[in-house]
Every structure is written in C-alpha cells, then in structure tokens.
C-alpha cells in the first residue's frame, strides 16, 4: 500500500520551546516518514534533546504542533505510550536488578510486546541475563536500555544519543542492532553528534543549530549540495616562504578554501583534476608541500560549511 507507506510518522510544526534564558527550539518544522530512520544531527545545545523529548511527550512545548503516529499527546497519550520505544540520554537503570528483571519490569508495562528473554537475546545479552545492571559495561548498559525500548515491540523508536561515550567496538555493535530493527520497516528518530553514525544509520538527516533546522536531506544530498564531493587537506610553506592562500581560489574545480590549525582545506568537485592543479600552483608559488590528505566530504564538512563551526566544538 504505497499511499500508506508514504505517510508521516512524525509531524512537527512551528515548534518553540524556551527555558529561562535560552530558546532551545525556535520554530522547528520537521516531518519523518513512516519506516525511515531519521537523524537529528547537531552540536550539544542545538535543541535535539528538547525536540525529541517534546515528541516523546515528556516536555511540553511553548507553542507548535506535534503529531506522532497520527496522534497527539493531549488526546491519546496512553495509546501513544504503548506504541513508542524510548531510549533517553543517560538514564541509569537500577543497578541492583538483573538484566532479566529489568527487561521483565518494562515488559509488564506494555499490553503487547516481545518476551523479555527474546529481547535480551536480540541485543546479545543472553549471557548477562542474571548479571546485575551495576556490573555491566557501558556498551552492555546501552544495549540493555535498547532492550527496554524494544520490549514493547514499538512502531516508533526514539534513540537519544545512543552511542555517546561508547568505545568504537561497542558503537558498531549497537549500530548493528539498530540496523536490525530498521529492517522490520518501522520508524526511528535518532539524535547524534557523530556524523559517521548519522551517515551509516540514517535515511534522512536534519542538521540543527540554535534550535533551528539548517539543512535537510539524505546524507549524500546534503554533502553534494552544501560542499563539493571531496576534501583536500594539505600543509605547505615554510618560515621563509609562506603560502599565498587567496591564489588557491583560482584553481579550476575548487569551491571553497579555508585554513584550520595551519592546514589548508579545499573543497573540490573532482580529485583527479584538482590535485595536479594544486601541485602545479604550489610549484608556481615555489612553496614546499609538507603534507597532503584527501577524504570524501562528510556531514561534518557540511556542518562546518553551513556554520563555520565544528559539531563538537561546544
């Protein structure tokens, strides 16, 4: 049923929320399609968590409309709670309970759901079933939190910075579990300040800054529309002979030039034409090249292009 599949799972209109002296969300508009994994990307303090908590019915907005799974919090909160799976940022589950007891507790809140033992094996904690929560590693705790979000077999899964503070291996493990859930065709809203996480997991991404959406699209689209496909980073010059940076703008295919910690970053459309042209320019200026790197542009580069800041600066 294609017309159903294109319906939105979440619709946010004119959303505004201010705390004492900060405007956390400032007129946000957003729509998440049913079945997609949508990423809210932004630095700390961008308003991601406030937005997600309003969507989860935990925080009241000052103004604006939020519709989750076609329902709103004022009239259908009890039904909505049954259909959402929620993982909050840094919740500490009771340390004295075992993994099984914790999942069993959360299972008891849902009218329908998955058996506790099945969810535990889905998040690969079978061997830890009888362990106390306090004895788990950070990654295991996050997987347990995910299990508590999945135990009601949700139609919509909210994940607020699910991998923050985890080591790379634990992050990858959690990504696999989220991808597993994605395959079931249900909706995910994920916040993160890791670009690689958004690029890997999300079908579409909204970049937020200062409570507003500043870019929206698939990760590829965002990269293609906001900066050229590739980044060239190099260091050149010496004390006696410094580099003429503005001259680099003249090189064919270079879209943007900026300097950062002594290195020069070029946004280029095609590496195979830009790099030889750059080398020729350096020879013309007679400055020695000391370092040269290239990488495909990432969401981080998009963010820097849009705001002039790095995602994790703050």
């Amino acid at each position: 049923m294609p017309e159903v599949a294109s319906k939105s799972a979440l619709r946010i209109r004119h959303l505004r929320k201010a705390y004492k002296d900060v405007v956390a969300v400032d007129g946000l508009e957003l729509e998440v399609q049913a079945g997609e994994c949508f990423g809210l990307l932004g630095p700390n303090g961008a308003g991601k968590t406030t937005t997600v908590e309003i969507c989860e019915g935990l925080t009241e907005a000052d103004s604006g409309d939020v519709e989750v799974l076609g329902q709103n919090w004022t009239s259908s909160s009890a039904q909505l709670r049954q259909r959402l799976g929620i993982q909050l940022q840094d919740t500490q589950l009771s340390e004295k309970l075992t993994v099984f007891e914790t999942v069993r507790l959360f299972r008891s809140f849902f009218r329908q759901g998955v058996e506790a033992s099945e969810v535990i094996s889905r998040v690969q904690l079978e061997e830890k079933q009888k362990s106390r929560v306090g004895d788990l590693s950070g990654g295991q705790k996050q997987r347990l939190a995910l299990a508590c979000a999945l135990v009601g077999d949700p139609d919509f899964l909210f994940l607020d910075e699910p991998t923050t503070g985890l080591d790379p291996q634990a992050r990858r493990q959690l990504w696999e579990l989220i991808e597993e859930f994605k395959k079931s065709g249900r909706t995910i809203l994920l916040t993160t300040h890791y670009m690689d996480e958004a690029e890997r997991l999300c079908d579409r991404v909204a970049i937020m800054d200062h409570g507003k959406e500043i870019a929206l699209g698939t990760p590829r689209e965002l990269i293609a529309s906001n900066c050229a496909e590739h980044m060239v980073e190099f260091m050149a010059g010496s004390v006696s002979k410094s580099l003429d940076v503005p001259a680099l703008r003249g090189i064919a295919g270079v879209r943007d030039v900026r300097t950062e910690n002594g290195a020069v970053l070029l946004q280029v459309a095609e590496l195979h034409t830009a790099v030889p042209a750059l080398l020729a320019e350096l020879i013309r200026q007679n400055v020695p090249l000391t370092e040269l790197r290239t990488h495909s542009a990432t969401l981080e580069d998009v963010f820097v292009t849009l705001t002039g800041r790095h995602l994790r600066d703050e």
């Binding site: 049923m1 159903v4 599949a5 319906k7 939105s8 799972a9 049913a34 989860e56 019915g57 935990l58 519709e67 799974l69 076609g70 329902q71 009890a78 709670r81 049954q82 959402l84 929620i86 909050l88 840094d90 919740t91 500490q92 589950l93 009771s94 004295k96 309970l97 007891e101 069993r104 507790l105 959360f106 299972r107 008891s108 809140f109 849902f110 009218r111 329908q112 759901g113 998955v114 058996e115 106390r132 508590c148 009601g152 077999d153 139609d155 065709g185």
Partner: protein
C-alpha cells in the same frame, strides 16, 4: 487520525507479538513491588538499619535498664564483732578489713561505708552522704547494729514487691522503638528510592513508558505493608521472647495502627522526596524532619517531661501520636476507639502530606 501502520503488516506483527500474559506475575504492580523488594534485600546497609539496629538498641537498653534483684551493698567493718553484727543484714556484704585497707576501699568506692568503733561503746559510720549507695548502706548498717543490740521495732510491717512485666523501662521502650522504626523505615525507604531514581533519570524513563504512574507509588505502599510484617514481627517477637514485654491490646488493632502509622510516614517521606534531586539534599531534609521528633515524641522517655506550654506541639507531631497509640495498645490494651485523637493526628498528617506531595511531585 487513523492508525498509520500498514494494516497487513500490523496483523502479522500482532501474530508475532505475544499478548500480555494473564499471570499474576506479569502485572506491572507486581513487577514494581518485586523491584522494591529486590532493591531492599540487595542493600545490606538497609537490612541492618531496619532489622538489626532496633534489636541491638532494644537489647542494649534492655540490659542497661533491666530490673535487677535489690542490689547487695559492699561495706567494710574493722572489728570482728561489728562484722558479725552487720552480717545479720542480708542486703549487706561485709568485708572485715584492717583500718588502713578499709579506708583505701572506701576511698576507691569498693565499699560504700566503713563501720568502726568510736570512743566508749559507740559505733562510727564513715560514708559519703551525697551518694545514694552510701545513704542506703548507712540505713541498713545502723538497723542491723541496733537490732543486734536488742532494739525491737514498735510497729510490724511487711513489703509487697512490684516487678510486674508492663511497668518496666523495657516495656516503655519497645513501643517507642517500634514507632521510631516505623518512621525511619518509611521515610528513608521512600525518600531515598525516589530521589535516587530521579537523580539517575530513572523516574523520567519510567514515565516515558506506559507505566501507570500511580502504580509506582502503590508499589511503595504495598512493599511497605509486606516489610512491616517482618519489621514489626521481629522487634515485638524479640521483646516478647527475651524481655517478656506483654502485648495486651488486640493484634488486629496493632496491625491497623502499624499500617496507618507507616502510611502517614510514607506520605511525609513522599513529600520530602517530591522535589529533591540529590541524595544529600534529600537526607538533609529527612534529618531536619525526623531528628526533632526523636527526643520530644517519647521514644526513650515520656513526652510529659517537657513543659506544659510545649505539650500541644509535641502532641501534634506524628511520631508522638504513633508512639502514644502503640503504648496504649501494647501496654494498656486500649482499643482503637480509645485512640481516636492519635488516629486523627495520623490521618491528618497522611492526608495533608499526600496532597502536598502530589502537588509538588516532579518526575524529573
């Protein structure tokens, strides 16, 4: 708005989803209450404070203030003749000593009195008249000497000794300790658990789930009732078994009193925990509320000892009402109707604290 999920996928999901079990153990209230139990039992310190500490206190105070048979007083006599006369008195333990040794014993308190012969056929008693033991020894020693010398008491008297269970210090103490324990365990267990859960954002996580919020609170009350049976049983059982403290009132009334007291203190604990975000803030609040009640509410000595002007305030404290009612039941066998004023005070505290707690309570 209609359900947005694809209907046939939804149907397939429903087939896969296990419906909520109908068994008793799957009920959220049962699971939440189990959590309360597990958290309590897995906290050794809590077990100590709730179960062991009141017993140690009762045992310690019971031993210190036990009613002993009338004590035998040690005195010294310097001549065999005096010693022989004095030994007629059964309540005196007479040591016949050289004068120097006797003086030394008197000085160090080993004997309460020294008897020696004075000039002529007189007897001289040396003792400290500010010391009750000295005065008692003097009365006993003089009576023994006079009787040995042939005095006859003009009026014959007899003694009736009162050592009845129910009027001793331990009898007074046990209901006081029980009341203190009911207060402490209700306030600490509720206050700590809630503030800790708020601090860890677990409260927020729970309200993000479909958990009915009143179940969370009910689970505390349910677990409290179940733990009460053990707490009260252990303390009263110990007191009855080792100190023969009588329980004169109806056990059903006592159970009603304990549950009512505990709920009043739970309401107070809930109010104290309604906003605090740190354990330090919460325990500060709890101490401020509980400590002033330990002294005037009559745990260790009668609240009547405070000035009359303070009595109305002392009587209005929940702990005073609880302890007065417990004493009336346990020691005087009073029924609930006779404790109406105390029960009224408990209900008042329960209703007011609970209403305020619901108004102020923050889940995050």
């Amino acid at each position: 708005m209609s359900d947005i999920s694809v209907p046939d996928v939804r149907a397939a999901e429903n087939a896969r989803k296990s419906p909520h079990g109908t068994s008793f153990a799957d009920h959220p209230l049962v699971q939440l209450t189990l959590v309360r139990f597990r958290e309590f039992v897995r906290e050794p310190e809590a077990l100590f404070w709730v179960f062991v500490f009141p017993l140690l206190l009762a045992a310690g105070l019971g031993v210190a203030f036990r009613n002993r048979p009338a004590e035998v007083l040690n005195i010294a006599a310097v001549t065999p003749e005096l010693a022989q006369f004095l030994r007629q008195e059964k309540l005196l333990e007479v040591h016949q000593l050289e004068l120097q040794a006797a003086e030394e014993s008197l000085r160090t308190g080993k004997v309460a009195l020294l008897a020696e012969t004075g000039p002529g056929s007189t007897v001289v008693y040396r003792y400290d008249d500010t010391n009750p033991e000295g005065r008692a020894a003097h009365l006993l020693a003089d009576r023994a000497i006079q009787r040995a010398a042939g005095r006859v008491d003009p009026i014959s008297t007899s003694d009736e000794l009162l050592r009845e269970p129910g009027s001793r210090y331990i009898d007074f103490l046990v209901p006081g300790l029980l009341g203190m324990n009911l207060m402490g365990s209700a306030i600490w267990s509720l206050g700590f658990a809630i503030v800790d859960a708020r601090r860890k954002k677990l409260l927020k996580r729970l309200v993000a789930s479909p958990m009915p919020r009143h179940y969370y609170l009910l689970s505390f009350l349910l677990s409290r009732i179940l733990l009460l049976v053990v707490e009260v049983g252990v303390l009263l059982g110990f007191a009855a078994l080792f100190f023969h403290v009588p329980i004169r009132g109806s056990l059903l009334d006592l159970a009603v009193l304990c549950v009512l007291s505990s709920f009043s203190f739970c309401a107070l604990g809930l109010l104290l925990a309604s906003r605090a975000r740190t354990i330090e803030a919460a325990s500060g609040l709890m101490n401020i509320v509980m400590m002033p009640m330990w002294i005037p509410s009559g745990v260790f000595f009668s609240s009547q000892k405070f000035p009359d002007a303070m009595q109305p305030f002392i009587k209005a404290l929940p702990l005073t009402a609880v302890i007065d009612a417990l004493r009336a039941n346990i020691l005087q066998g009073a029924n609930l109707a006779q404790m109406a004023p105390q029960i009224g005070i408990m209900v008042f505290w329960m209703v007011v604290c609970f209403a305020l707690a619901l108004k102020f309570f923050r889940w995050r």
